[in-house]
Point group: C2
Chain length 229, copies 2
Amino acid sequence: MKPFHEYKNPSLAIDLVVFGYHDNTLSVLLLNRKEEPFKDCWTLPGGFLQMEETFLDTCYRILQTKLGMKEVFLEQLYSFDAVDRDPRGRVIAVGYYALINPAKFSVVAGSMANDVKWFNVRKMPVLGFDHKHIFKQALQRLRSKIQYDPVGFELLDELFTITELHELYECILQTTIDRRNFRRKILDAAYVINTGLKREGLKNRHPELYKFNKQLKKNSFQINVPNET
Amino acid sequence: MKPFHEYKNPSLAIDLVVFGYHDNTLSVLLLNRKEEPFKDCWTLPGGFLQMEETFLDTCYRILQTKLGMKEVFLEQLYSFDAVDRDPRGRVIAVGYYALINPAKFSVVAGSMANDVKWFNVRKMPVLGFDHKHIFKQALQRLRSKIQYDPVGFELLDELFTITELHELYECILQTTIDRRNFRRKILDAAYVINTGLKREGLKNRHPELYKFNKQLKKNSFQINVPNET
DNA sequence: TTTACTTCACGTTAAATTGACGCAAACAAT
DNA sequence: ATTGTTTGCGTCAATTTAACGTGAAGTAAA
């Protein structure tokens, strides 16, 4: 048997699916690559794991240097192993997804990219590598997760109305949910806390502002959709 | 920027949590290591990814050479990245779990192990590396998965009775489930198909034998447990 | 200040599902 | 035949869900 470090190892990359929600639209952040492979092609932001880094270290390094973000919700998605997924050689990718509030960050293209842009998840361009596959899996994960785990607030402002939360759910799950039943479920589960404040300056009745209940745990509610896949 | 393959890469290992069900007991297969590190310690079966292998290739190589198994249910669990998880150096582990019917395989210790043994999931020994952590996560995944995805049959014989399936659920979920309500749910969801045959040679009424309904998809049923965590 | 229009907050009701049991037929052993 | 146990089917009250009604709160226009 050879000594431990003489074996050849694949490279290990992290690829990020960064979700943002704004104007009733769920979007994903993509980079336009400056270099080969997939030069001038849209791809997920990513980077190689350094020897002393944990996955989250790498995630934050990418988020910070390429996008100027920190302190965001991150969750590991899946690891992708197709032998030919990177033309440069064997690269394993660990997918993570992030939920952010675009209002809190202004994204800037780093030195590695021509451009950084938000794309509506329903109007995605062709993606390089196997990133279409990673993206699809992330979207599916977000959809199933939001039904039983209160992560919706990660995409909203600190204070939000129940109608805003309701629209977020309809947007992500791509379905209609009865407004009144939704409200009752959310309130019964104590998903949110009424702040007593109201959103001012709207043309109609001023709705109450809520904040997320940090005590709330997974599986204390269940938003049903007719045909989950 | 250095050429692509001059960067140092972590090693990439696959670790397997192999579940088997027999005599109303859920067990996991462990190896007793012959070599350092963790010599004479129990660990999950695992191995390093070779450059041309996919994860599943590696899984089957481990299953076949160390345990003499093939064609089993396998699913990716999670990837583990703690910097100090392996004393030999930086090793990323991709966890997979397998569901097998122990009746179909006789496990044999390969050249790498002193011993291979099934351990009741409730009576686990101390494990080497971070394998306790991987095991716990696998058990949790199995528990939540079996509630909405029909994977139970992977652990049973081709033909089984509803009582056997019921006992499997109670064993895995560590709870009591009303026999009659369970039967109704399973049948209403068309989880199983009645073969018309009966299990003979029992001391009481001979129950009907069912087989798994391969048309059945995820989320067509839901077994509830009082306090999932 | 009325009127019109929209959203918000809170109810109501029937249908569906769940949870907790009852019971008789099937079988082996006595 | 009698006994003891498991199996398969059924009942029913309690809970949850889905579908929808309505009046108050607010803005804008008459």
